[in-house]
Symmetry: D2
Subunit: 258 residues, 4 copies
C-alpha cells in the first residue's frame, strides 16, 4: 500500500520525549514525500477529526520540550468499537492512510483494535514513563523520569547527612514500579516500595535497622505512588514509627514528565 | 580583645550554602592566623563541648555540597540560661574566644543571649532558606531553594500545557511565605498561597477563572507548607473543586535544601 | 502624557530573563489598559517599523525560555541621528507613544539619544549578562549566567580531584569581569583572570604554587573571554607551563545565555 | 578458586559513574564475605602496591559524585611485561586474589595481559565516556556525558533562535565519535563532525544551506574533539566562512566527566 498522508497522535499520560518523537516522525515522513497531520488531544482528536498539518517547520524547536505539542488525554469512548469504526471512516474521508500512536499499553490496545477491526494501518512508538510496554527495553520518557528522580535524591542526600532524617520520595507509577526500582538502585536508596511487591515494607525496616547499627545516618526510601500502602504518605509513618525516626516526604509527581 | 581561636556552628534547619560559609570563615581565619573549630550538630555540640579542628584542608571540596558538614539540630535545652552559662564556661576551658553561628532567627536569639549573659563574642551569618532574618536582603540558601522550586515549575509547565491539569507545588516555609512568593513571581504561577495571608484562596480561584475564560489551559499554584489550609494537599482540593478541574500535587520538601 | 500604546524591544547580546521581562511588561500594560507591540531584532526592527502585537496570550509560556522571542541584534546605523529621527517619526505614524528597551549600556545610550533628540519617552530595563549597567545591582541574566558557570565548575571539581589536572574555564565578558569574578568566588576557584586587571596571572601562579605545596591536587581557574592574554586558550599555556602541570580548557560561551 | 580478597582500580580517563561502580562492587563483595582493597591512581597504584581497604562505609555517599575516589592515571610502564609480572607478584604478597578493572579499551588490554601472563583473575567493568568497548551497549559514563552535552545544546538553542548565530559545540572523543553522534541526534543538531568520517564537513555545509533556504534561523553543529579538522575551533571557521554566517564556539571538555 502506498501511503501519502499519515496521522500521528500522543495518547495516555504524557512523557518527556514525545515531542522529539513527533519531530522525528514528521521529518522522516517529509523526506520520504509523505504528508503528516497531528491529531489533537489523543484519540479524542481522532474521533472528532480534529487535526493540524505538520511540516518540518511546525516541529522546529520542540525537541527539548517536555509534554506533547499535540496534547494528550485518556479517551474512554474509544473502547467502543462503533466509535473506532466511525474514527476510521473519518480518517478515510480526510485522506489519511495510516496512524502513528505514541503512548503506552492501553493506547496500543486501542491502536491494535483499530487495525484489526477497521483495516487502518497503525504503528506504535512506546511513549510512557512507566517503561511497561512489552518487548521494549526503554520506552520514551522513562530515562528522563528516572533522572529527574535521581536529581531529587542527590539533593536530599546532603541534607539527610546533615540532619539524620529519613526521606521518603514518591515517584510516579500507578501499577508499575519501574521508575521506583531504577531510581532506588541508581540513587543508592536504602529501600524501595513498589506496587508489584507486597511484603517489602518489613524487609525495608529490617534492612535500615541493620545499616543504622553500622552507623549509617541518613536513609532515603523510594516509593511508587501506586503502592498498596498508599504512596509515600502511606508508607512513611509505618516505617518512621517502626524505627522511631523523624522523616519527611517528597512527592515528585508530574515534575517527572517535564 | 585579641582572638586566637574561634568556634563555628550551624543551627536550625540546614540551608544550601552553609558549607560554603563554613569554608569562607575558616579560610579567612587561617589567613589572619586565627584557629577555628567546628561544633557538631549545632548548639548541642556546643553544650557537649563536641568539636573538630578545622583547617584549610578540612574545608576543601565542600563548597558545592548541600547540607552542612558540621551537622545541625534544634536544641531546645539551649533555651535554658543555665545550659548557656555552662556552654560558655566550657568554651573558656577549651580556649575558644568567640563563636560564629550560621542559622536563622531562633539560632540568633540563642547567640545573642549567650553574648549578653555570658560575655561570649558572637557573630551571626544568616543561613536559612526562609529568608526571614531581619536586616538581610538574601539569607544563605534562599536563592538555591527558590531555584530548585523554579526548576520543578519549568518541568510542570510543559506537561500542564499538554494535559490541561492544574498543579499545586508545595514549597518550604512553615511561617514564611518568602520562597513561595518569589517562586510564584519568578515562575509565572497562576497563584500563590502563604502563611502570612488569609483570604488569598478565594482570590486565586477568581483569578484562575478569569484566565481560563481567556483560554489559558494550564495553571500552577505555589503553596507554602505552613499555610493554614494545610499545605498543598489541603489547598488543592478546595481550589480543584471550586473550579471543577483535575489537579495533581507536588511536594518539594527537603530537595530545596540540597 | 497619556500613553495608549507602547513598543518594547530587546537589544544587544541576548540575556536569559529577557523573555520574562517582556512578559511582565506586557501583562502589566494589559492590566492598565495599555497596548503593547514588540519590535523585532532590536533597534533594527524599530528602524524598519517591523513589529508584532503583544497581548497576554502572546507572552504565555515564555517565562522560562532563554534568549528573546523578539530577537535581538546590534544595529550600528542607530548611531546616526538621522536614522533615529526617522525611527521616531515612524513610531508616531504607527501610533506608538513610548518605548521600553531591554538591553545593556550601549542600548541605553541609543534610547537616551532617542528621548533627548526626538522626545520619545523611553524606559530601560537592564538586561545583560555582564552586569555592567551603572546603578543596577544585578542586571537581568547575570544570575543565570553565573549559575551556568557554577554548574560547570561543580562538574569539573570531581574530575579534577580524580586526575590532578588544572582546568581553565572561560566565561563570557568581553570588557567586564563580573561573571568571572562572581563565578570564581562562588565556585571556590583557585584563581580568576579578568579584563579589568593586568598583573593577575603572576599572582594566580604564585597562589597555586602555595596551595600545591599544601597538598591541593586540583585547581580551577576562571578566565573572562575578554582578558588581554586571549581568553582561556591564551591564559592556560602560560600558567600550565609556569607550574609544569597538565591542563584542559573549557569554553562555556553562549551556554550562559540559555 | 576461592577468593577472599580482591583489588579494584579505575584506569584511563575518569568517567561519571565510576564511583557508583566501585560502591556496587564493594557492597556486593562485603555481602559475600569477600574483602576489597582499592588501588590508587589506576595501574600505577597496582605497580607500587599502593592501596586502601574498602568496606561498606568507605564507599558511603559517593554514588552521586563524578570522577573516582581512587584516582586514575594512564600508566605507560604497565605496557612492560616485567612490570606486570612484578605487580602480580606484589598482589600475591599482599594476599589479593583477583582484580577488578574499571576502564576502557586500553585498560582492559592491560588486564587481559595480566591474566594471560601471570594467572591473576581479572574482571572488567567498561567505564569510559567514549562508549567504545566492544560488546557493551552503554559503557559507564557515556549516558552522563551525552546528557551534559544535551543540556548545553538546550541552552544554546534559545539564544541561537534569538540571534541567528551558528554554534559549534565540541564534545569529548579523541578517536570516538560516539558522544558527538548521540548528542547530535538527541539534540536535533544541524550537523555532526566525527573522527571516524572524512568528507562530512561538505555534507554539513550543504545541508545547512538547504535548511537556511527553508527559513531555519539557528544551527548547532556538534564536533568531536578528535576530528581531523582540529576540533570545534578547526571546523567552525571552515563552515562559517562557506556559509558567510557569524558563529561561536563552545568547548565542553571535562565538564562531561563530572
Amino acid at each position: 500500500m502506498d501511503m501519502k498522508r499519515l496521522g500521528i497522535l500522543t495518547s495516555g499520560g504524557d512523557a518527556p520525549g514525545m515531542n522529539a518523537a513527533i519531530r522525528a516522525a514528521v521529518r522522516t515522513a517529509t523526506r520520504l514525500g509523505v504528508q503528516m497531520v497531528g491529531y489533537l488531544d489523543g484519540y479524542s482528536g481522532l474521533v472528532r477529526g480534529a487535526f493540524v498539518e505538520l511540516d518540518d517547520r511546525a516541529v522546529g524547536n520542540i525537541i527539548q520540550r517536555g509534554g506533547t505539542i499535540l496534547g494528550t488525554s485518556r479517551c474512554p469512548e474509544f473502547l467502543d468499537p462503533e466509535v473506532r469504526a466511525q474514527a476510521a471512516n473519518q480518517m478515510k474521508l480526510d485522506g489519511i492512510d495510516g496512524l502513528i500512536v505514541i503512548g503506552g499499553d492501553g493506547s496500543f490496545r486501542g491502536a491494535l483494535a483499530l487495525q484489526d477491526e477497521c483495516g487502518v494501518a497503525v504503528a506504535g512508538l512506546p511513549g510512557t514513563i512507566d517503561n511497561d510496554v512489552w518487548g521494549t527495553e526503554e520506552s520514551i520518557g522513562f530515562d528522563t523520569a528516572v533522572n529527574t528522580a535521581l536529581l531529587a535524591i542527590d539533593q536530599l542526600r546532603d541534607t539527610g547527612e546533615s540532619t539524620g532524617m529519613m526521606f521518603f520520595v514518591e515517584v510516579m507509577g500507578r501499577t508499575s514500579g519501574a521508575i521506583a526500582l531504577h531510581t532506588a538502585v541508581a540513587g543508592g536508596a536504602a529501600g524501595v516500595v513498589v506496587p508489584e511487591a507486597h511484603a517489602e515494607i518489613d524487609h525495608v525496616i529490617e534492612r535500615i535497622r541493620e545499616t543504622m547499627a553500622k552507623g549509617k545516618r541518613s536513609h532515603i526510601i523510594v516509593v511508587a505512588e501506586g503502592d498498596e500502602a498508599g504512596g509515600a504518605f502511606g508508607v512513611a509513618p509505618i516505617i518512621g514509627k517502626a524505627l522511631d525516626r523523624p522523616y519527611r516526604v517528597v512527592v515528585l509527581g508530574h515534575t517527572q514528565r517535564g
